[in-house]
């Protein structure tokens, strides 16, 4: 009788044990380790010494660091609104349920399921000096604006931004469309009867309805634009001409695995983690305040 009671009390822990163990082994321990090594001058060997805040000070006073960080901010500040706007427009259009709307939605979502590697390689061909993008630009008379996009220190980040948005707008569209489909259609019908224009409906009904989903999208995409851009850069530009397209992740990769400054790279990782947390907290705070 006693044995059965113990079993009943222990067994929930057994169910969660693998998950907890794995998380501790692969996430918690290395996280602490990263934090610890960020205060050393580790070069990957077992021999290193404690240097306190030296790594952090060096980065915060280096121009490169702020330049790299600005690249992430650039992507976020431009990319997220673009995704949201495109997503809203396309979702409202699809909501009209015109002929074949499901097929359009499927097509929009394809880039999201393709790996970034593939999207990046394809677009690096389209963005060549004589690639399809420049061919089209010349055709419509913008012949002056046809650089080798990924090799230009001025335009490469813009090109990367475009590919990122190209890949993500389908996801935004899907999310917003799902939100619209789940909502009560009678409001939209009422608006139509009252003669509201497309734009008015969008502004006063659609957007407030989708607020929660839009905020959700903004939060996860911000996180992604700090932590998931590595593949784009690795495949398309390798950092771009000089450091033109280096983002935080790529910077960590370059400093740690490229130059071997492991301790410094750990410091960068901690900083990135802190920044991501900061942005997430700020955004979530604003979301709560609105409600």
């Amino acid at each position: 009788m006693a044995k059965k009671t113990i079993f009943r009390n222990i067994s929930p822990y057994l169910y969660i044990l693998p998950v907890v163990l794995l998380t501790i082994f692969i996430k918690f321990y290395p996280l602490v380790d990263t934090f610890y090594h960020s205060f050393t001058n580790w070069y990957g060997t077992p021999v290193y010494k404690f240097v306190g805040l030296e790594n952090y000070v060096e980065y915060f006073s280096s121009q490169t660091f702020w330049q790299v960080l600005s690249h992430n901010i650039f992507i976020i500040v431009l990319g997220i609104p673009l995704n949201v706007i495109l997503g809203l427009i396309l979702a409202t259009l699809l909501y009209e349920k015109v002929f074949a709307w499901r097929y359009y939605q499927s097509i929009f979502f394809i880039p999201t399921i393709l790996s970034i590697v593939i999207c990046g390689i394809i677009w690096s061909y389209f963005l060549q000096l004589d690639g399809i993008i420049n061919v089209i630009l010349r055709l419509i008379g913008l012949g002056k604006l046809t650089p080798d996009w990924l090799a230009s220190s001025r335009y490469s980040l813009w090109a990367v931004l475009m590919v990122i948005v190209w890949r993500d707008f389908g996801f935004a569209t899907l999310l917003f469309l799902a939100g619209l489909l789940g909502a009560d259609p009678s409001v939209f019908d009422a608006a139509r009867i009252d003669g509201a224009s497309w734009f008015q409906t969008l502004r006063y009904i659609t957007v407030p309805r989708l607020k929660g989903i839009i905020e959700f999208f903004v939060v996860i995409t911000t996180w992604a634009y700090f932590n998931c851009l590595f593949n784009y850069v690795y495949v398309m530009t390798g950092g771009g001409p000089g450091y033109a397209t280096v983002v935080m992740e790529y910077y960590i990769y370059k400093e740690g695995f490229g130059f071997g400054y492991m301790g410094a790279a750990c410091a960068l990782s901690v900083v990135l983690f802190a920044i991501t947390l900061l942005f997430a907290s700020v955004e979530i705070h604003f979301m709560e305040v609105e409600i």
């Binding site: 998950v19 794995l22 692969i26 259009l93 399921i113 394809i122 389209f126 799902a178």
Partner: protein, 280 residues
Amino acid sequence: MKGRSTINRLLSRFLIHFILVTASISILFSLYYLSINSFKTMDEYSGNRFGLPSALNVSNVVKVLTIFNFGIYFKNSLIISGISVFLTVFLGSLAAYAFSKMNFRGRDTIFFALIATMLVSPLILLIPLFVQMRNFHLVNTFTGVILIYTTFNLPLAVYLLTKSFRSIPNSLLDAAKMDGCGSLYIYYKIILPLSKPLLATLSILVLLEVWNELLIALIFLPEEDMYTLMIGIASFQGKYFVDVPLLMSGLFLTTIPMLTVYMFAQRYFIKGLFAGAVKG
């Protein structure tokens, strides 16, 4: 009046289609470009970049599969992805079962802490994780990357599954318990069958994540015979970017599996995402 509004309706429909088609063009064109150029030779490509190939030249595709080892890379990706997906869904559902249907000390705290770890991306842990894996001789093994992928996908799996399991009525479980069923039996015979759609959707989500992943695979599978398809295509691009049709063939082969899964799973996938998004 009636005639006018019909024309208005037609015009607006046309405009909508026009916009939707324009948005689709870049996507469809990419796939088109990829496919047609896989079947050209380099000479043919130089002269005719955007048109259809004159003949279906499969030599590049064959070369990529055999000489360039994409067959091996595909096998590696398949093994790694398959096991990672299975482990994530299996371990995640066990944990979700406990979080949703059992009471124990620390349940909510542990759950919250687990979900919170979603904030940590692999990149941040990359260096110490590499050293740790090296100490356990797990670098350049399937086991190492499988463990990493599973761990990073578990929080999402646990979150979605817990949410879903909670909606299974307790009366079902109580009835089974009264019949003397143990908790594992309930898990296997009640919880799992009732959650098939979510399990399918989750599997596809995780599959997508793992199949398309590059960074972890790149760092933890340095030897060529262990490469996944993603590493293969990334390094392929570095070496053979001059021979465009060859590269296109590689891309084409890499794209086909995911697209195929997507075609079949579309219904589940989109329905699953809809359900998640709508319920917030």
